[in-house]
Symmetry: C2
């Protein structure tokens, strides 16, 4: 056996080959490793065959074609140092070989890099790569702030026996400091000596808390990006934003780390991540569930909610946590064309098809949407500043470039502006409830599929403003709103939102489940055949 | 593109191939998937080429040769159901192809399975496989009971700034219930309202607590096996026991999940996992560090200790947590032949070589080892029953088949037997300290390398009794004992134990570090060339 000198580290490694090594193979491998160590993107690109069929997978996501692999590398900015412990080489022919490197990180994690190499025109290049590693962290800190086995045991038994919950970092959990997505805020809190009411309701019914998952800062965003903690991966679309502000609970559920996500929804913070991650998500009727022990954003609109992979789990949570008897969500579906039309063209096309299949009727109540939207945003901003303004003013520099300007704008809202906005909101609430009496409204949950992670801030802000025009209506009216994962827009999930009468929360989930079960709809969990 | 029918699940999948499919390739793949779904071990074996060079890696560990792959499969007992989302096929020739399956678990995790297939004598078989998956749990629950980002922040700054700690589940951590490796015990505890003294000392010096890691039940074992929580993987030898009872902190450090492990050592519970996992581990002088807020096992011998990947981190912890000035650990090394000789032959051979290289002199103090060993075990058992007997008696069936018989035997020890054992222990303590004055004792940390995970209980018990005869001496004398990762026994790590004068803890680590830095020794972190 041959010793090949240290390429990426000083650790010696053992070479395990089953046949004489073809000329140039190990030299090509060593060039690749050197390029990796120095992040020489051009050399790394050159190591892959220039084909649309070159493959690079990381265990959960596949890049196909050398261009996709190159773009990924260019954005990645290098890999952490690692040592090769053992190199297994299987020579298949003079022109084909498999090289598998077993890796060890100086931080203690381990990994495996499998390459299939082919020689063409005298040059060895990679046909396909599979790279995987064990984490050198106890938990995914873009997703979780704390987790346990469980973090909090059940306090009773009931309909949620065996269900594990990811709790948004806005709720008190006994023994922990609430953070609201802001480390400096967390640092000043004391350990909660009791659970938030919404947490207690779940553990009383048999659920256990798996952990505390991230929120956008003070829940004042819909993107799922947190400038301090990072961005949870969207398992349904790893190169897209996960949606927020209940980003952590949503991603925890989508990844299977928990069965149920407990979050809040002020202007869409349950419905948007549900839409972007292919989940079922319910925003409850305003005032139906206690917010005791929960960090507020805008109390006139704040409501708790849940996220799940299926309607049944969502139903169990709603039944356990909400009053037993409530009004029924009618099976008569309606849509408001001027609302649905606010979605982007591809979302509207997919939505119209499903709305047709579900037999939704169009109504035209003539809502003054722009006036209402302005009043909603004014009152939300005023209340957000009332809730957090003094802390933010005393702690400059603690908010990200996305959320900070929102609070700055909120600081400028006057009490008089808030008062007149409140009057508009109250009138709108009554008008919407009356217009929708006897029917269940459907609309797209979000204006677009999830935007790319590397989109510029202006594009993310514009996308948020676009989606808010759809989501704010249920918030304004204080109505329960369910996002169901029914649309597939160019391979990306988008939800259909069902809005029912006040207090119809449980029935709303039942109605949507029953209607969509018997109706053929696009479902992002079923891949299409190409 | 072709649709091939569901093999392991009802989810349709997309086939992505770059060339016409060679005859029989997909049929062979489908047979493999069917065999996986039904755990048809014979069919799975037949799918791999019958060669010593067939490879199957899981991202951290490589199986080499079809026999090794078969043994693994036979022990595994099937895989959880999963759906194939996309199948990427690269045809390299009529006889060679790569098939990569992107997987999704119904629980939400994702995975990738890369196979290189070759046709020989008309049959397609797998040459090499790389299988990886994302976890569907927030954290590795064989290792951690809770973890955070961090779970507990620093309470000051100092020599441990930036150091992350895995705390054994015997120490109080503010806001959490201590479990001592026994779920039913944890369920009856209240949330700790302050940290154990040993935890507080670390966070005061700038460390953060990454999480709470598993202990063997009531710390009364050296194997690292916990019948309730499972067994943490030993990263240095994945098919071997990790060693205990500080198994979780050791594995957390070895995997890079934390920089420092905080544990306890009554009869070897720091030194044994350090030895088995290639770590540095220090058992402190008895009484040198407070045990306030720590679940006891046998107070006459209980001592705290730390585990680290390097001597410097261990030193920082010892300096932060122990009194500043202590006696020096002499650079004059001695070994006691009748003690070293208790190790197995291969360990003794490796140890003798290192002892020679380090210039250790033999001494023959004529200790009555068997009498002392009996007294040690009697007093340990008596105190363990005093500490936990009433709880165990009131909670039948809560202990595993390994630990339960130890407590049963402990219950039979009489007060009179304990009294006479205590007299022997006190005399022995004085005699050992006198005999070792002016020198630092070295001995093998454990009698054997880590035993196989699938060993029968009798073999594990015999191995423990074997190792206890080496480890008990420092416990009996209340002396600081450091295990340094210096031996490589057939590719497996074993430690060399340095025993210094009472109170010499910091100096002991410095002495061992300095002596081994300048002396060529076997180091398990450097692979040999074969």
């Amino acid at each position: 056996m041959t010793l090949i000198g240290p390429t990426t580290s000083a650790t010696e490694y053992r070479l395990d080959a089953d046949a004489p090594l073809p000329e140039g193979l190990l030299a090509a491998f060593e060039r690749y490793e050197s390029a990796l160590a120095t992040n020489d993107v051009d050399a790394l690109d050159d190591a892959f065959e220039p084909s649309d069929f070159s493959l690079r997978g990381d265990g959960s996501h596949m890049l196909r074609g050398r261009d996709a692999i190159s773009s990924f590398r260019a954005a990645r900015g290098g890999v952490p140092g690692r040592a090769i412990e053992t190199l297994h080489v299987r020579v298949l022919s003079d022109e084909l070989a498999i090289i598998i490197a077993m890796l060890r990180s100086p931080r203690g994690g381990r990994g495996q890099q499998t390459h299939v190499w082919r020689r063409r025109h005298g040059a060895w290049r990679i046909v396909a790569a599979h790279v995987s590693s064990t984490s050198s962290r106890p938990l995914d800190t873009t997703l979780w702030t704390a987790a346990g086995d469980p973090l909090l045991p059940p306090a009773g038994t009931g309909a949620l026996d065996g269900v594990t919950v990811a709790v948004k970092d806005l709720f008190d959990v006994e023994g922990h400091r609430v953070g609201a997505g802001v480390p400096a805020f967390r640092a000043e809190q004391s350990l909660a000596d009791r659970n938030a009411a919404a947490v207690q309701a779940l553990v009383d019914a048999g659920a256990s808390v798996a952990g505390i998952a991230h929120s956008d800062q003070f829940a004042y965003s819909l993107s799922g990006i947190n400038s301090h903690y990072g961005t949870p991966t969207n398992p349904a679309a790893p190169d897209r934003i996960p949606g927020g502000s209940s980003s952590g609970p949503a991603a925890a559920v989508a990844r299977g780390h928990a069965d149920l996500g407990l979050g809040t929804d002020t202007a869409g913070s349950i419905r948007v991540p549900a839409s972007y991650q292919g989940l079922w998500g319910l925003r409850t009727t305003h005032g139906a569930a206690s917010l005791a022990g929960t960090v507020p954003l805008a109390p006139s609109f704040d409501a708790i909610g849940w996220l799940a992979r299926d309607a049944e789990t969502l139903l169990s949570a709603a039944r356990a946590a909400l009053p037993a008897a409530g009004p029924t969500a009618p099976a008569r579906l309606v849509q408001i064309h001027e609302v649905s039309a606010l979605a982007s063209t591809p979302v509207r096309a997919a939505f119209d098809e499903v709305a047709g299949a579900l037999g939704a009727q169009s109504i035209a109540p003539g809502f003054p949407l722009e006036e209402w939207f302005a009043a909603f945003r004014t009152l939300q901003a005023w209340e957000a500043w009332q809730a957090h303004g003094s802390w933010i003013a005393a702690h400059p520099g603690q908010l990200g470039a996305d959320v900070a300007p929102r609070f700055e704008a909120a600081a400028a809202v006057t009490a008089a502006e808030a008062d007149s906005a409140r009057a508009v909101v109250e009138a709108a609430r009554a008008e919407i409830r009356e217009a929708l009496a006897g029917s269940t409204l459907i609309l797209p949950s979000t204006a677009n599929p999830p935007i790319r992670l590397n989109a510029v801030q202006e594009a993310i802000d514009a996308d948020r403003a676009h989606t808010l025009r759809l989501t704010f209506l249920a918030s304004l009216a204080g109505l329960p709103a369910l996002s169901a994962p029914l649309l597939d827009v160019d391979g990306l999930p988008v939800g259909v939102c069902f809005v029912g009468p006040a207090g119809s929360d449980v029935s709303l989930v039942e109605t949507a489940r029953d209607l969509t079960r018997s109706t053929p709809v696009h479902h992002p969990n079923t891949m299409e055949i190409s």
